[in-house]
């Protein structure tokens, strides 16, 4: 997510918003924002409702066997359709912002 913060202007110039979703409470996310300097919205899905709907639940993956999100990135266009997805098989390896920007360029969104 640091990479996305560094490339935030590239996304905003293209009219693209970034939002990160986890089961963390707003307070926990606020601490993370302050510590890492994130300025895009961090959204709180404590019961993993949206995480489940997107099919990216990691059951018992968190502390105290809590259900959490598996790492994943979705690109949603203005009609609300998913246009691009990145699903890593390794917690450490996340989508790079350059890859998402490239997907944006090739998708030719309205």
């Amino acid at each position: 997510m640091r990479g996305f913060e560094q490339h935030l202007n590239d996304f905003r110039q293209r009219g693209v918003e970034i939002a990160a979703i986890s089961v963390d409470s707003p307070g926990e996310s606020r601490k993370l924002c302050q510590a890492r300097g994130y300025t895009f919205p961090l959204l709180s899905d404590p019961k993993a409702v949206v995480i489940r709907q997107y099919g990216v639940l990691h059951p018992h993956g968190g502390e105290e066997n809590k259900d959490i999100a598996r790492p994943a990135e979705f690109l949603v266009d203005s009609t609300g359709t998913i246009r691009w997805v990145n699903l890593t098989d390794d917690i450490r390896v996340r989508a790079r912002p350059e890859a998402v920007l490239q997907a944006l360029n090739t998708l030719n969104l309205q």
């Binding site: 997510m1 996305f4 293209r14 009219g15 693209v16 918003e17 970034i18 939002a19 990160a20 979703i21 986890s22 089961v23 963390d24 707003p26 307070g27 926990e28 996310s29 606020r30 993370l32 924002c33 919205p41 961090l42 959204l43 709180s44 899905d45 995480i51 709907q53 997107y54 099919g55 990216v56 639940l57 059951p59 993956g61 968190g62 999100a69 598996r70 790492p71 990135e73 979705f74 690109l75 949603v76 266009d77 203005s78 609300g80 359709t81 998913i82 246009r83 997805v85 699903l87 890593t88 098989d89 390794d90 917690i91 450490r92 390896v93 996340r94 989508a95 790079r96 998402v100 969104l109």
Partner: protein, 143 residues
Amino acid sequence: MKRRWNIPIWVGFTFVIAAVFSYIPLFALFPVTRDVPWANYLLFLIGGFLLAIGVMRAFRDPERYRGKLSGSLFACLSVAVFGLFVFGLAYASKRIPSPESALRPGTVAPPFTLLNTAGRQVTSSEILKTHRALVLIFYRGYW
């Protein structure tokens, strides 16, 4: 004659410790050193090389150099630490559910309303009214 300290053993072990503890706070922050942790492997390699020199010296010339016991001990510990590191990368960090259940491109993105860090409601359809696209990053949290 007083035996000398076997410096490469200590420096080598320091490199090994640095190799394992530098990953999360430092090298994992940069994709170049995160996805393939070559910087950490390099530190392990330097540490292993120095330890090997130190241990060889201790056994070949025990009257001049210390470190037969400490060198062997640190070498074993280093192998164990390296093993744990490789295990973490190859196994522990890949323990996530298969991606088959995830929504695919072309499907409708479920609309949502969630709280942001200020405790205010953020609605996906509102964002999409004023933007060409929305990138959703799902993350594990608790980091």
